[in-house]
C-alpha cells in the first residue's frame, strides 16, 4: 500500500526474500494440485465415507464456533476491560493452546474428561459419557480454537476504546445494556473475523481429536482423520480430500480477511 508521499519504505531485495517465503507456502500446494487424480476427483470426494467425514467436520466445527463465541466473548471482555489479580496469568493460559502441540491438548483433555479423568469420573456417575462421542470432538476443537476468538476480540476491544460505553453509562444505560447495544456492535467485525478463524482452526483439528475422541465414521472421524486414514491405502482419495480442506480453508481465510478490512473504517470513525 502506497503512502501519501509515494515512498514505499522497503528495499528492493526484500521482494526477492519475500518471494522465497511465498513460494515455500505456495509450492507444496501446487505440488498437491498436480497430484490430484482429476478424472476420479468427484467420485473420490463424494464417496460415502468422505461425505460422512465432511458433514461431521462442518457440523462439529459449527458447534465449536458457537461454543467459542459463547465462552470467548466474556473471556475477551474480562481480559480487555477487567482488572483483577492474575489477569496476565489468565491471558497466558488462554493463549496456551495456540502454541501447544495438539496431541498434548488431547492428552490434557483425556485426563480431564476421560473416564478416569478429573471431571470424567463425576460425569460418568451422572450418566454422561464424553469419550468416543461427537461431544469429545467438539470439546477438542473448542479447546484449540478458543484462543483465536479471544485474541481477535480482545484486540478489537482495545482499539475501539471505551468512550462510547462511558457516554452510554452516563445516559443511564445499565452495564448489560451497554454491552448489548454499544460494545458488541462496535466490535462486531473483530468478533466475526475471530469466529471465522475459530471455525477454520476447528475444521483442521487433528491431534487432539485423534488422542481424545477416537475415530469412528460418522461419529468422531472428521475430515483430517479421514485423510490420515485414507493415506494408508488410497493416496488419491487422501489428496482429493486434502484439496477440499484447502479450498474450505482458503475460503474461510478470505472471508476473515474481508471482515477485517471492513472493520477498519468502523474503528477509526470519529
Amino acid at each position: 500500500m502506497k503512502t501519501a508521499t509515494g515512498y514505499q519504505g522497503i528495499p528492493r531485495w526484500i521482494y526477492a526474500v519475500a518471494a522465497v517465503g511465498g513460494l515455500l507456502v505456495v509450492l507444496p500446494l501446487v505440488a498437491m494440485l498436480a497430484k490430484v487424480n482429476w478424472p476420479q476427483f468427484v467420485p473420490l470426494i463424494t464417496s460415502e465415507s468422505s461425505l460422512a467425514a465432511l458433514g461431521l467436520s462442518l457440523r462439529t466445527s459449527a458447534a465449536s464456533t458457537v461454543l467459542c463465541i459463547v465462552l470467548g466473548i466474556p473471556l475477551a471482555l474480562v481480559l480487555a476491560r477487567g482488572e483483577f489479580p492474575g489477569q496476565r496469568l489468565l491471558r497466558a493460559f488462554v493463549l496456551l493452546p495456540l502454541v501447544l502441540p495438539p496431541v498434548v491438548g488431547g492428552i490434557a483433555l483425556l485426563y480431564t474428561f476421560g473416564r478416569q479423568g478429573l471431571l470424567g469420573k463425576s460425569l460418568e456417575a451422572a450418566g454422561i459419557q464424553i469419550a468416543f462421542s461427537t461431544t469429545a470432538v467438539v470439546l477438542a476443537q473448542t479447546f484449540v480454537a478458543l484462543p483465536f476468538l479471544v485474541v481477535s476480540l480482545e484486540g478489537a476491544l482495545r482499539s475501539a476504546g471505551n468512550r462510547y460505553e462511558a457516554v452510554a453509562a452516563t445516559l443511564g444505560a445499565r452495564p448489560t445494556t451497554v454491552l448489548r447495544r454499544v460494545t458488541l456492535p462496535l466490535v462486531l467485525p473483530g468478533l466475526a473475523s475471530g469466529a471465522v478463524l475459530s471455525f477454520a482452526r476447528s475444521l483442521g483439528e487433528f491431534g487432539a481429536t485423534l488422542t481424545f475422541a477416537g475415530s469412528l465414521e460418522g461419529v468422531t472421524r472428521t475430515l483430517p482423520l479421514e485423510i490420515y486414514l485414507q493415506r494408508e491405502t488410497d493416496a488419491d482419495a487422501a489428496v482429493a480430500l486434502s484439496l477440499v480442506l484447502v479450498a474450505v480453508a482458503v475460503a474461510v481465510v478470505g472471508l476473515s480477511y474481508g471482515a477485517r478490512r471492513s472493520s477498519t473504517p468502523a474503528e477509526v470513525r470519529p
Binding site: 475422541a213 477416537g214 475415530s215 494408508e232
Partner: protein
C-alpha cells in the same frame, strides 16, 4: 561418488531419525566409500540403515545393539514407522538398506516396484490378542465377550494391517464387533486401553507384552485365522549390501529368533 553419498545423507536427515543420528550415520559411512583390499565376511564395517515396522521397535533396537556388539566398526541406524509409510519413503528414495515389514502386502509393493534385492525372507509371525485394562472392568474372557452390549471395544481401521487382521478374525469366527473407535494405528488402540477409556482393544500379542503391566492380555483361539507374517529384505538401492545381508542373517539366526520369541513373536 562422494557427493552422491553426501546427498543421500542429506536426504536421510530429512526423512528419518534425529539430526544427531543422521550425522553420525554420515560420518560412519564415509570410510566405507573407499573400499579396502581385504573385505572379507569377518571385516564388516560401515553403516546399515534399517527401516522397520513400528511393531518391531523394541526387538530391532535390541537386535541392532547385539549386531553392533558382535561386529565392531559397524553401525545400525534404525527408522521405525508404519509399514506403508516406510514403503512410501523408500519409493521416494529414502536411503534404506534393509526393510522389515509387518505384513507381506507392503513388502510385495516394493517387490513389484523392483526396489528389492533378491526375495524377502519371512522371519516372524504375530497374532491378535485382546488387551484389557489390568482391572478388566468389563470382565472380558473371550472374543465373544467383546460383542456384548455396553462393552467399549476399540479396533484398528480396516485400512491398516491390524484392522485387516481384525476383519479376518471377525469373518472366520462369525462374531461381529461394533467398536466405539477404529484407530489408524495399533499404538492408538493400545493407548485407549492403557488410559482406561476403552474396556478392550484388539492389538498384537507383542503389543500386550510390550505394554508390561499397564494392560492385561486375553488370548483367544479365533486369532489363528489371521496370522501376520513379517518379511525382511535388502533394498536394491543399498550402498552396503554386504552389511545388509549380514544384518538380515543376524535377525533370522537362532539368537535373533530368541529375541523375537521373547517379545511374543511366533516363528514363521
Amino acid at each position: 561418488m562422494r557427493t552422491l553419498r553426501l546427498k543421500k545423507c542429506i536426504v536421510g536427515m530429512s526423512v528419518a531419525l534425529g539430526l544427531a543420528g543422521a550425522l553420525t550415520a554420515c560420518g560412519a559411512t564415509a570410510p566405507a566409500a573407499t573400499p579396502t583390499s581385504n573385505s572379507g565376511a569377518s571385516q564388516l564395517s560401515g553403516t546399515v540403515t534399517v527401516f522397520a515396522a513400528a511393531s518391531l521397535k523394541a526387538t530391532f533396537t535390541q537386535l541392532a545393539k547385539d549386531f553392533e556388539a558382535k561386529n565392531p566398526g559397524t553401525k545400525v541406524t534404525l527408522s521405525f514407522a508404519g509399514s506403508s509409510d516406510l514403503v512410501t519413503q523408500i519409493s521416494q528414495g529414502a536411503p534404506a538398506d534393509v526393510f522389515a515389514s509387518a505384513d507381506t502386502k507392503n513388502m510385495t509393493k516394493l517387490a513389484d516396484a523392483k526396489l528389492l534385492d533378491g526375495t524377502a525372507t519371512n522371519f516372524a509371525t504375530n497374532v491378535l490378542e485382546i488387551a484389557v485394562p489390568p482391572s478388566n472392568p468389563a470382565s472380558i474372557s473371550s472374543l465373544a465377550d467383546l460383542a456384548k452390549p455396553g462393552v467399549k471395544v476399540v479396533t484398528c481401521a480396516s485400512q491398516v494391517p491390524c484392522g485387516a487382521a481384525t476383519e479376518t478374525v471377525e469373518k472366520a469366527s462369525g462374531i461381529t464387533l461394533s467398536p466405539v473407535s477404529e484407530e489408524s494405528s495399533v499404538t492408538d488402540v493400545l493407548g485407549k486401553v492403557t488410559s482406561g477409556e476403552a474396556d478392550a482393544g484388539l492389538v498384537y500379542v507383542t503389543d500386550v507384552k510390550g505394554a508390561g503391566d499397564k494392560v492385561m492380555g486375553v488370548p483367544f483361539p479365533e486369532s489363528d485365522a489371521a496370522v501376520n507374517t513379517y518379511p525382511i529384505a535388502t533394498v536394491s538401492s543399498s550402498q552396503n549390501k554386504e552389511l545388509a545381508v549380514a544384518f538380515i542373517a543376524s535377525v533370522t539366526s537362532e539368537a535373533g529368533k530368541k529375541v523375537l520369541g521373547d517379545a511374543g513373536f511366533g516363528a514363521p
